[in-house]
């Protein structure tokens, strides 16, 4: 557990007035408040640090204790007992040893709670001051959920375990890769009557081996043999909901694209609406030709 220099956290001098501390806190809180920086874990961590520093320095009693024990904070209780004994024996008040803090250390990063350092010095809740703002909103949680393209194409339910809590969610068909949804109140519980944080889920949906997705459209490359490409015919192709037979026009060129309306990806939160499937024909040149086949190609070359 490292020392934390709360003055450094708030960017104020050790002799700063309570008004200076209040102003510094407000300024930093406006910059790093989670409401103003949604889905930014760094800001949340920083806000937690600022909050804790203000909890100590903004309260003259806590500030006094913090200033008094300095780097000997681990022995605060012991020190206090000795001071009391000294006062009983000799009267007067025991002074501070004048020790200063070393550079600020890291926070525990526990969800929405104070650092171990704070709790060692002031107890788990630190005795919050009264007033509306004494209740702190719980920390937001961020989670990532990986889905296959097929899973993302249908509305389905999932049970997620986030920080030991089971949460049942319905994932609507058509969610996008990288899209984040917010589940209000499913984050960490608030402190001192504050509201719970939110849960942000970001979907990771990689393209599959067959289909590539762009918005609501799907793209697929389909190999086409030379003879069907030249003479036309039919070709079976994969779609998300099974195979379909597609007519191939005679003299189809390599790279030709065909758009199949409504055979693409479901549109997010629009039931029954789908994007398109774009098929790109990849004409394959035959290999390992027999002598007879080569002769026929030469014949074609002569007359072509």
């Amino acid at each position: 557990m490292a020392y934390i220099d709360y003055y450094k956290v708030l960017g104020v001098e050790r002799n700063a007035s309570q008004e200076d501390i209040r102003k510094a806190f407000k300024k930093l809180a406006r910059k790093h408040h989670p409401d103003l920086n949604p889905n930014d874990p760094d800001s949340k961590r920083r806000f937690q640090e600022i909050n804790e520093a203000n909890e100590v320095l903004g309260d003259p009693e806590k500030r006094k204790k913090y200033d008094q024990y300095g780097e000997h904070w681990q022995h605060a209780d012991q020190f206090e007992a000795q001071q009391q004994q000294y006062r009983r024996q000799y009267g007067g008040t025991g002074g501070s040893d004048g020790a200063y803090w070393s550079a600020g250390g890291g926070f525990s990063g526990d969800d929405g709670e104070f650092s171990d350092f704070f709790e060692s010095l002031f107890g788990s809740r630190g005795g919050h001051r009264g007033g509306r703002s004494a209740g702190f909103r719980g920390q937001d949680y961020n989670a990532e959920l990986q889905l296959s393209l097929q899973e993302a194409a249908r509305t389905h339910k999932r049970v997620l375990t986030v920080n030991g809590k089971k949460i049942r969610i319905t994932i609507p068909a058509g969610v996008e890769n990288g899209q984040t949804i917010k589940l209000g109140g499913q984050g960490a519980s608030g402190m001192n009557g504050g509201p719970a944080g939110d849960l942000y889920i970001t979907f990771v949906i990689p393209d599959g081996p067959v289909f590539k997705r762009l918005g609501n459209d799907l793209y697929v490359d389909v190999p086409l043999n030379l003879y069907t490409a030249v003479l036309g015919g039919e070709q079976l192709i994969d779609t998300l909901d099974g195979k379909v037979r597609l007519n191939v026009k005679p003299e189809t060129q390599n790279g030709t694209k065909v758009r199949l309306k409504g055979k693409g990806f479901p549109v997010y939160k629009q039931e029954g609406v789908y994007g398109d499937l774009i098929v790109t024909w990849r004409v394959e040149i035959p290999t390992r030709l027999t002598e007879r086949q080569k002769e026929l190609f030469r014949e074609l070359q002569r007359i072509g």
Partner: protein, 99 residues
């Protein structure tokens, strides 16, 4: 469609919020309050926004005009984030096709 409603006066009492603040949010068009048989109600769907505005106002000392501006900027930020995401996916598709 049925909507869950919260009695404004009750909410203000429990969360130590001055009712005039809710009225101010309503006047400035940040929220919509429903009046049913003389009682003012807050739709549950707006609760999350109201709580955010309360935190901005009371904890961060941001005035109503500031909250409104932040609201617009956050929406704009969300739109841009979605657009960035969509462009990233598009770029990935083209990059993959080049490989």
């Amino acid at each position: 469609m049925e909507t869950d409603l919260i009695i404004v006066s009750e909410y203000c009492r429990k969360s130590h919020v001055d009712p005039s603040f809710i009225a101010l949010l309503e006047t400035e068009g940040l929220i919509e309050v429903r009046m049913i048989e003389g009682i003012r109600y807050l739709p549950l769907a707006q609760l999350c926004d109201v709580e955010r505005y309360i935190r901005m106002y009371y904890d961060l000392s941001i005035n109503i005009e500031g909250i409104d501006a932040i609201r617009h900027l956050l929406r704009r930020m969300e739109d841009l984030q979605n657009e960035l995401n969509s462009l990233r996916n598009r770029l990935r598709l083209y990059e993959d096709s080049l490989l």
